[in-house]
């Protein structure tokens, strides 16, 4: 092999190598882009999740407020019913209670 042919060969190889390295860089860029896209997608997944959590939070709050409101209405109704019953009982037993205290004061009864 002559020097000329060797030079020619090396030159050709160099050219091809340069072209291939260029291709390799493109591939690396493409790979990085893929990873970046994946990271963006991952970020979107997390953002969506945070959004879903916020939506769920509002829903849980709404349901909880309804439950509390209903329970308070129920308690109020029960209390009102009890108060009415107490009032009624007190009305019908009022005289008995007064007479009992009077008898106690005048020594006609003991506790």
């Amino acid at each position: 092999m002559t020097t000329t042919s060797l030079v020619y060969m090396l030159k050709s190889i160099k050219e091809i190598e340069s072209s291939l390295i260029n291709d390799l860089d493109k591939t690396k860029m493409e790979a990085n882009k893929k990873i970046e896209q994946a990271m963006e997608e991952a970020k979107k997944i997390m953002d969506d999740t945070m959004q879903r959590i916020e939506t769920e939070r509002k829903e849980i709050q709404r349901r909880s407020e309804i439950e509390i409101r209903n329970k308070l209405i129920e308690i109020d109704a029960t209390v009102q019913k009890i108060l009415n019953e107490i009032e009624e009982k007190a009305k019908s037993n009022r005289d008995a209670a007064i007479n009992f205290i009077l008898k106690y004061i005048f020594g006609e009864t003991n506790v």
Binding site: S5, I68, D76, V79, L83, I98, F100, I105, F106
Partner: protein, 211 residues
């Protein structure tokens, strides 16, 4: 011929480099693909667990608020019922005080005087007791008191002298007995009696009223 040989070698070398490079490119893409998949799959897993954790946390937080609100409402409800009962019991005692006015001119009041003066006598046994009547008392007389005195002394074998004071007290009914120049006094006014019996009688009155 020589050139052909060279070209053939170059092609071979290039082909080899190309092949190696392709392998490398393929591997780079495969690694990137794998890494991308891993990133996404980790994000999905993290998102799922974050979602569950946060939702449970939120549920717990609102459960606490709910339980606290309900507990407060129940406590307030109980207080309201207790207050209502208490108000009704107080109103009964007020009614009793009004009713007691009507007893001022009855035999029951005389019995009350006698019973109360016996209690006083049991405490002191002998000496002079000054009786302060209330300003509305128009029935109790000196002679009535003297009659009670006689009964008490006889019953208790005591030596007590009851005397109605000129001083009158402001009360619905009853009296105040003073002994030892006013150093000891026994308050039998209706107001004080009611005040004293209010607490001990409350459970019984409550039972009678509310069943």
């Amino acid at each position: 011929m020589f050139k052909d040989m060279s070209e053939s070698r170059i092609r071979k070398i290039c082909s080899y480099i190309q092949e190696e490079l392709n392998k490398q490119r393929h591997k780079i893409m495969l690694d990137a693909e794998e890494k991308a998949q891993k990133i996404i799959s980790e994000a999905i897993t993290n998102a799922k667990s974050l979602y569950l954790e946060k939702v449970n946390e939120i549920k717990g937080e609102f459960d606490k608020i709910k339980n606290k609100s309900i507990a407060e409402a129940e406590f307030n409800a109980k207080q309201k019922i207790l207050k209502q009962k208490n108000d009704l019991i107080c109103s009964i005692f007020n009614d009793v005080l009004n009713k007691l006015k009507q007893y001022m001119t009855t035999d029951a009041y005389v019995k009350f005087l006698e019973k109360s003066l016996i209690e006083v006598a049991l405490s002191i046994r002998s000496g002079e007791v000054e009786i302060l009547l209330c300003d509305s008392d128009t029935m109790t007389s000196e002679s009535m008191i003297k009659s009670i005195e006689e009964k008490v002394n006889h019953k208790l074998n005591a030596n007590i002298s009851f005397r109605i004071s000129q001083e009158r007290i402001k009360a619905t009914g009853g009296f105040i007995a003073r002994y030892a120049n006013g150093k000891i006094s026994y308050d039998y006014t209706f107001e004080t009696i009611l005040d004293k019996i209010k607490e001990p009688l409350r459970p019984v009155v409550s039972k009678i009223l509310f069943g």
